[in-house]
């Protein structure tokens, strides 16, 4: 399989503010690619360029084998773009919104009707087709927002932070939809600042910060390359963790403590022995797999989210 997206040396500025500098990555056909980064990192700008909404200052972009600059009209026919905000007519029903956006995407007549029924089923809102969008919850609106980009069966779907501020039920629906798209061979470009979403959905990812890609590749590859294993210990209330001289720094985490280390087995053994000697009550002691959170921390020195 080839690449659905190829980006090289992409740069974009707004006046004297640089949004993207020398961005480059590739997205495999049929994969789900995560674009991970904090707010203002350049994710939306990248997605708007790929959707043809913004023109880059420089760089080469190929989407579905077509040159973005020269063959934009043909690209538009094959992509579905889901903006970060709810871009729907609140006064119209879900079905009327989908009819309108479907027609704008070139789907008409019986095919459009059947596609509307299909995508409403897909987003779990078939029974609310005739209701005005303004009567929907935030999560339901987000689902219709996505559905409006699927009607013309795009080969590439670009989702710009589609789960911001929604309920768990809607989030699960969206996750299932994305997994369904992947099963159907659709390439998904997914931007988010939620690391757990990338871990749950994406095959590959690029970590973007201050307009630069600071790491990209397969999820496991990035975790192996940049992530550090850790050992987590949780004791009974009021007990303190034994010191581990020369094995690493102990940091509080959740209801226990953690030690980031390249030798997790050694730390685990030392901590287990110390707890046994001091007769401490161990509630949890385990090796923790490297996470994107630790990757991001190690690469940028900051956490991804403030919350």
């Amino acid at each position: 399989m080839g690449n659905a997206i190829e980006i090289e040396g992409l740069a974009k500025s707004y006046g004297d503010k640089t949004a993207l500098r020398d961005i480059g990555f590739a997205v495999r056909e049929g994969s789900c690619f995560g674009l991970l980064g904090p707010n203002g990192a350049g994710k939306s700008t990248t997605m708007k360029i790929l959707s043809g909404l913004l023109e880059p200052d420089s760089g080469r972009v190929r989407v579905l084998g077509l040159d973005l600059k020269r063959e934009h009209a043909r690209i538009r026919e094959q992509i579905g773009y889901v903006p970060q905000g709810i871009a729907l007519y609140e006064k119209l029903s879900a079905a009327d919104n989908l009819t309108f956006f479907g027609e704008m995407s070139g789907v008409r007549g019986k095919e459009l009707k059947s596609r509307i029924a299909e995508v409403l089923e897909q987003v779990g809102l078939a029974d609310r087709a005739k209701d005005q969008v303004e009567s929907f919850s935030g999560g339901m609106k987000r689902r219709i927002n996505i559905a409006a980009a699927l009607l013309h069966r795009p080969k590439l779907i670009i989702l710009d932070e589609p789960t911001v501020g929604i309920d768990p039920q809607s989030r699960n629906h969206i996750f299932e939809m994305i997994r369904g798209m992947k099963r159907d061979g659709v390439t998904v470009l997914y931007s988010t600042h939620y690391m757990e979403e990338v871990e749950a959905l994406c095959d590959d990812l690029a970590i973007i910060d201050s307009g630069r890609v600071i790491a990209h590749g397969g999820l496991n590859e990035i975790l192996d390359r940049f992530g550090t294993s850790a050992v987590y210990l949780e004791l009974a209330a009021g007990q303190q963790p034994p010191e581990l001289p020369g094995l690493g720094e102990i940091r509080p985490k959740d209801r226990g403590w953690t030690v980031e280390t390249a030798k997790p087995l050694e730390v685990l053994s030392a901590w287990a022995e110390a707890c046994r000697r001091q007769q401490l009550t161990v509630k949890q002691l385990e090796i923790v797999r490297p996470s994107l959170e630790t990757v991001f921390l190690s690469l940028t020195g900051t956490t991804l989210r403030d919350d």
Binding site: S51, P83, A87, E103, M104
Partner: protein
């Protein structure tokens, strides 16, 4: 695509009650209100209080004649109420008082020692004083003519000669040139129809700015829709709205007030051109403004300023000469003139071409500005 955008827009308008208020209910309310106020002035009976101090048959005949000539309802007051009535006029509580003095009747038939006096007490600010005074002067002239006729008869002048002598050397012949009489309805119905057509711009601004801020304009740019389809689709939608609005308001005037619409083809073409003009200027405003509030300010200026200058609220002849010249630079003037040419002067299509040409010129200017600014509008929508 253009039709799909227009259909979506019509669905949205049908869901928005505010649009019905602005575009239909409010103008109908204005037509009813001002049509009733100005249309019933000639039909209203004005009451004139009087005190008959003479109490003679002649004084009663005189009072009856005042009522009949002026269409007034005469209301008798007691002789003792004279001071109180005058105080009421001074306090602004009453407009006029007619007092027929003692001895009225003497001398009316030509007696040399007789003099009949009628006093008209009035509030200087009252609109009633002038017409009532004219009625009284006309009656005084008739008494004078009767007195001269009696004197001529007494001098032995024959009846035919008396008639010839009493004839006025000035002959006034009324020759109306209009198909229909101009009245309050021929002013108010087309006036408010023209005025409120321009209110469609408010809905257009809400759509363009609303779509832009909601990210819909940007989203649509990722579909197969071409930018010009978006502009034309929304324009087509509101063009239809303006035509339906005009048809509804003119029909209301016709069925509720008996307004003569004149040549149907000329009226239809004028309505179409007015709708193109109003929505064309609307497109220009939508592309020029950066926010809904700014758009509202522009629209108020165009609708209200144009309504006053264009003679939509009152006949243009009431305005100073300089403003009548300025009025030619607002589209409302030409639309109102076109409607009144058709309705009052019985004009056909060939007779309203100046109005059609002027409206087409305003429309073309608006559309050109919109097209010139459209790229900037789209750019701002995409960068948001």
């Amino acid at each position: 695509m253009i039709l799909s955008i227009a259909i979506k827009e019509w669905k949205l308008i049908l869901k928005e009650k505010g649009a019905f208020f602005w575009l239909l209910l409010m103008p109908i309310g204005f037509i009813v209100l001002f049509g009733s106020v100005f249309g019933s002035i000639g039909k209203t009976t004005v009451t004139v209080p009087y005190i008959d101090l003479a109490g003679t048959a002649e004084s009663q005949a005189f009072i009856k004649a005042v009522g009949e000539r002026g269409g007034y309802k005469l209301e008798p007051k007691e002789a003792g109420a004279l001071d109180e009535q005058i105080t009421r006029i001074r306090d602004g509580k009453q407009s006029v008082l007619l007092v027929v003095r003692e001895g009225f009747g003497r001398g009316l038939s030509g007696a040399p020692d007789g003099k009949s006096t009628v006093e008209l007490y009035s509030d200087a600010s009252s609109e009633l004083t002038g017409p009532l005074n004219s009625v009284l002067e006309n009656l005084a002239n008739e008494y004078r003519e009767a007195k001269i006729g009696s004197a001529l008869q007494a001098a032995g002048v024959a009846e035919t000669e008396r008639s010839r002598l009493m004839e006025s050397p000035l002959v006034i012949e009324e020759k109306p040139q209009n198909a229909t009489n101009a009245n309050a309805i021929t002013q108010v119905v087309p006036g408010y129809t023209v005025m409120f057509v321009f209110f469609v711009i408010i809905s257009m601004i809400r759509r363009f700015i609303g779509d832009k801020t909601a990210g819909i304009t940007a989203r649509l740019q990722t579909t197969r829709m071409t930018p010009v389809s978006y502009l034309l689709g929304i324009w087509l939608a509101y063009l239809g709205v303006a035509i339906v609005q005009c048809a509804a308001l003119l029909s209301f005037g016709h069925f509720a007030y008996g307004l003569e619409l004149g040549d149907a083809v000329a009226t239809a073409v004028l309505v179409l051109m007015l709708a193109i003009c109003g929505t064309g200027l609307g497109l220009a405003i939508c592309m020029l403004v950066r926010s809904e509030n700014q758009g509202m300010a522009f629209t108020q200026l165009l609708t209200m300023g144009g309504a006053v200058l264009g003679g939509l609220w009152f006949p243009i002849e009431f305005m100073p000469r300089a403003l009548q010249t300025v009025a030619r630079f607002v589209p409302q003037y030409w639309a109102q003139k076109g409607f009144q040419d058709i309705m009052i002067r019985g004009a056909h299509l060939s007779g309203i071409w100046p109005s059609l040409a002027a409206l087409a010129a305003f429309a073309a200017a608006g559309i050109l500005v919109a097209l010139f600014r459209y790229k900037g509008f789209m750019k701002s929508a995409l960068s948001g």
